[in-house]
C-alpha cells in the first residue's frame, strides 16, 4: 500500500513531531499549515532555520546562545561588569532579560546538581564561573537559580566554590509572589516568606 504523503513530507512531519509540545498529529497539522502558507511561512521558516543552523553558537564566556562569540551581552559596554548573574539555563537568562531585571552580565550553569540524573559538579559550568568571579572587576555574584531543592543545593555548592573569590554572593528572595494570596500559598513558602520579611 502506498503512503498518502511523500517521503519528504514524512521526514518533515517526523522531525517536527520531535519538537517540544508537538506530537505526530500536531506535527502533521503544522506541516499542512506550512504548505498552505508556503510563501508567508514555509520559505521564511526554512531560511530562518538554515541561518540559525549556520550562525548560532554558544558563547564561550557565559554559555548564552547567540550568533557571535562572545555574545552580544558579554561585549555590550553598557552592561555592568561588576555584577555576574548566575542562571541554570538559557531560558532563565531570557526570562531575566525580558523582565529587564539586571544590567549585569550572565553566567549559564547548564543545569543543576542532580544525583538522580547523575549530574555532578563536573557536568556544570562551575569552574569557568569561579574563574570569571576572580576577575577584580567583578564585585557581586547573583545566584538566580530556581527555588527548588536541587537549585538551592547547587547555589550552596557554588557559594562554597566562590569562597576564595573576593565577591559578594547574593541570591533571589523567596516568598510571596506578586499577586499571590496568602490563603493559597503552601506552608513552606509562607514560612520562608515570614523568615525573610523586610522592614516596611
Amino acid at each position: 500500500m502506498t503512503s498518502a504523503t511523500s517521503p519528504e513530507l514524512d521526514r518533515l512531519i517526523q522531525l517536527l513531531a520531535r519538537l517540544p509540545g508537538l506530537g505526530p498529529r500536531s506535527a502533521r497539522r503544522a506541516v499542512l499549515h506550512l504548505i498552505k502558507k508556503r510563501e508567508q511561512l514555509l520559505v521564511p521558516l526554512a531560511d530562518a532555520l538554515h541561518s540559525a543552523a549556520e550562525h548560532i553558537t554558544i558563547c564561550a564566556t557565559c554559555g548564552n546562545v547567540d550568533t557571535s562569540d562572545p555574545c552580544a551581552i558579554c561585549v555590550d559596554p553598557r552592561r555592568d561588569p561588576a555584577t555576574l548573574c548566575v542562571v541554570e539555563d538559557v531560558s532563565d537568562l531570557w526570562a531575566l532579560e525580558r523582565a529587564k531585571a539586571t544590567r549585569g552580565r550572565y553566567h549559564v550553569l547548564g543545569g543543576t546538581l542532580s544525583p538522580l540524573d547523575g549530574i555532578g559538579p563536573d557536568d556544570l559550568s562551575i569552574a569557568p564561573l569561579v574563574a570569571r568571579a576572580k576577575d577584580p572587576a567583578v564585585t557581586e555574584v547573583i545566584l538566580a537559580v530556581n527555588a527548588t531543592v536541587e537549585g538551592q543545593t547547587t547555589a550552596h555548592y557554588v557559594t562554597d566554590m566562590l569562597h576564595d573569590a573576593d565577591v559578594k554572593v547574593t541570591r533571589l528572595a523567596h516568598g510571596v509572589p506578586v499577586g499571590g494570596e496568602l490563603d493559597y500559598l503552601d506552608d513552606g513558602t509562607l514560612a520562608a516568606a515570614m523568615r525573610s520579611r523586610t522592614p516596611f
Binding site: 527548588t148 531543592v149 503552601d186
Partner: protein, 238 residues
C-alpha cells in the same frame, strides 16, 4: 496493581514536558519510583520537592511496570531545607544512602530513623548526630552492624571509648589505650542518646561510620562515599 502508602520524596527527574518521575521512600514499599502525570505543573512542583512528606497512591497494570503515582501533600519541609546549606547536604547524604537499598524492598527500621532525622536537619549539630545514627542503622540493616554495647576485650560496659576496626565492636578505655592509634574513636553521643556532641565528637562519629560504610558497602560496589557527605563534614568543621 494498586497500593496506598505515606512516603518522603527523595528526588525527581523530568519526564516529557509535563510529567515527572518521582522517587519515593515509603515504610511498606521501600524506595519506589513512579510517574506523576502533570508533575511539572505549578501546583504539583511545590509538592514534588525532595524532603516533603506525601500520601501516595501507586497504580500499574503489572507489578513490574513503572506505574503512576497520585500524590497528595502531607508535611512540607523543602522550604526549611533550602534555607540551610548543612540541611541540604545532610538530606542529599541521606538520600544517597537510601539509594544503596534495592528498589521496592521495604526497610522499616531505616524509614523510622530517616523520619526521626528529617525534622532535625535544619539544626546542624542535631542533624549531624542523626545522620551518624542513621548510618549505624544502615550498616546494621545491610548486615554489618557494630556492637557498641560492651567491650570486645573485657566484656565490660563502662568507659567504652574505642571501636575495633577489625571486629566493629566497642573497646573500653582501659583495654584500648595501648592500641589507641589503631582504634577508631567512639563518641559519647553514640552510647548515650541525650549526650551533647562537640565538633570533634561529630567528626569522630563520621570517621567511625565512614570507615565501615566504605569497607563493607561502598568499596565492594566500587563507588565512593557521597560527595555531599564530605561537604557536610567540611561545613561542620568550618
Amino acid at each position: 496493581m494498586e497500593w496506598h502508602d505515606d512516603g518522603i520524596i527523595l528526588g525527581l527527574r523530568r519526564h516529557g514536558e509535563t510529567s515527572a518521575i518521582v522517587e519515593l521512600f515509603t515504610p511498606s514499599h521501600g524506595r519506589h519510583l513512579g510517574l506523576v502525570r502533570g508533575g511539572r505543573s505549578r501546583r504539583q512542583q511545590v509538592v514534588l520537592q525532595p524532603g516533603n512528606s506525601v500520601h501516595a497512591t501507586w497504580r500499574a497494570r503489572l507489578d513490574e511496570h513503572l506505574g503512576t503515582f497520585v500524590i497528595e501533600p502531607d508535611v512540607s519541609r523543602a522550604a526549611a531545607l533550602m534555607e540551610s546549606q548543612t540541611a541540604l547536604y545532610a538530606f542529599a547524604t541521606l538520600a544517597a544512602h537510601i539509594r544503596l537499598l534495592p528498589e521496592r524492598d521495604p526497610h522499616p527500621e531505616i524509614f523510622v530513623r530517616f523520619m526521626e532525622a528529617l525534622p532535625l536537619l535544619p539544626d546542624p549539630q542535631a542533624g549531624a548526630q542523626e545522620i551518624v545514627r542513621f548510618e549505624l542503622t544502615l550498616l546494621a540493616d545491610l548486615g554489618f552492624g557494630l556492637d557498641l554495647t560492651e567491650c570486645a576485650s573485657t566484656g565490660g560496659r563502662q568507659e567504652l571509648v574505642f571501636v575495633s576496626p577489625k571486629s566493629g565492636r566497642a573497646v573500653s578505655r582501659e583495654a584500648g589505650i595501648p592500641y589507641a592509634d589503631r582504634l577508631l574513636k567512639l563518641p559519647e553521643f553514640l552510647r548515650l542518646e541525650d549526650a551533647d556532641a562537640s565538633t570533634d565528637d561529630l567528626a569522630a562519629g563520621f570517621a567511625l561510620t565512614g570507615y565501615f560504610l566504605k569497607r563493607h558497602v561502598f568499596e565492594p560496589r566500587r563507588i565512593a562515599l557521597p560527595v555531599e557527605r564530605e561537604r557536610l563534614i567540611a561545613r561542620l568543621k568550618s
